[in-house]
């Protein structure tokens, strides 16, 4: 069985499920599970947000998730299960945009693998966010250019083109 579950969830049809993520990375040999949940918040740069639309290049995103999982496996060893799921489509405030879960024998690898994966997903995956504001305006986030080389296996927040996430 593949130790990594990777998916894109269309918000019009389904929603992200942290319980399913925990269940997938659970294993009798694993004593540590770390879960990251990214939700739509109601304020960004001082503007009141009422929703976000996510656009994805699904095929490349899923291939990228697989590459990120392989890097995590190389870094943290074979005793690792990962769940990587990202939403696409229109989300409201409070909806889940991303769920990452990492299961490992001990907590340290679980924390670090989860952090490494979410940072990589944010900075490398072909995903675009359009924020919708209470005043009716909508703006695409500036984001990180993929033109340069991919950052070396991030596991810490870093500056990207002068901004941080």
């Amino acid at each position: 069985m593949n130790p990594h579950h990777l998916l894109v969830v269309d918000a019009a049809q389904d929603r992200l499920d942290p319980a399913a993520a925990i269940e997938f990375v659970s294993d009798p040999a694993f004593g540590g599970i770390d879960v990251f949940i990214g939700r739509v918040r109601d304020l960004n740069h001082g503007r009141e947000v009422i929703g976000i639309s996510y656009d994805l290049f699904d095929a490349l995103a899923l291939n990228g998730f697989a590459q990120i999982a392989a890097r995590a496996q190389a870094q943290f060893g074979p005793h690792l299960k990962l769940y990587i799921a990202h939403a696409k489509g229109r989300l409201a405030v409070g909806d889940l945009a991303v769920v990452i879960a990492a299961g490992t024998p001990h907590r340290d690898e679980a924390f670090r693998a989860c952090r490494m994966v979410i940072e990589a997903v944010k900075h490398e995956s072909p995903i675009w966010k359009q924020e919708h504001y209470v005043d009716g305006d909508s703006v695409w986030s500036e984001g990180c250019s993929l033109c340069g080389e991919v950052a070396d296996h991030d596991d810490q927040p870093q500056a990207h083109d002068g901004h941080t996430h």
Binding site: S141, E142, L146
Partner: protein, 86 residues
């Protein structure tokens, strides 16, 4: 050869259906596609969107395409603006 180009994110609204086709010489690669796309954008897209191309990557379904690379066999290329997932 005809290249089918898909647009994402902020570039989606630049073309109907977020797609366009460009006819390139048979020996054209990623560098030539990028130049042709920029020329098209500068004459058809709003200036801020055309200038965004300088920060965009090109890709197929499996990986990012770098300048100097050959174009994918299927003739399908995606234009990826700076990403903002999570």
């Amino acid at each position: 050869m005809m290249i089918e180009i898909s647009l994402f994110g902020a570039l989606r609204e630049c073309e109907p259906g977020a797609r366009l086709q460009l006819d390139l010489p048979g020996d054209a690669g990623v560098t030539e596609l990028r130049a042709a796309l920029l020329a098209h954008a500068q004459s058809h897209w709003p200036a801020p969107r055309a200038s965004l191309l300088g920060k965009c990557a090109l890709a197929d379904e499996r990986s990012i395409l770098r300048d100097g690379d050959a174009l994918p066999g299927g003739g399908r290329v995606a234009v990826l603006p700076p990403v903002s997932g999570g």
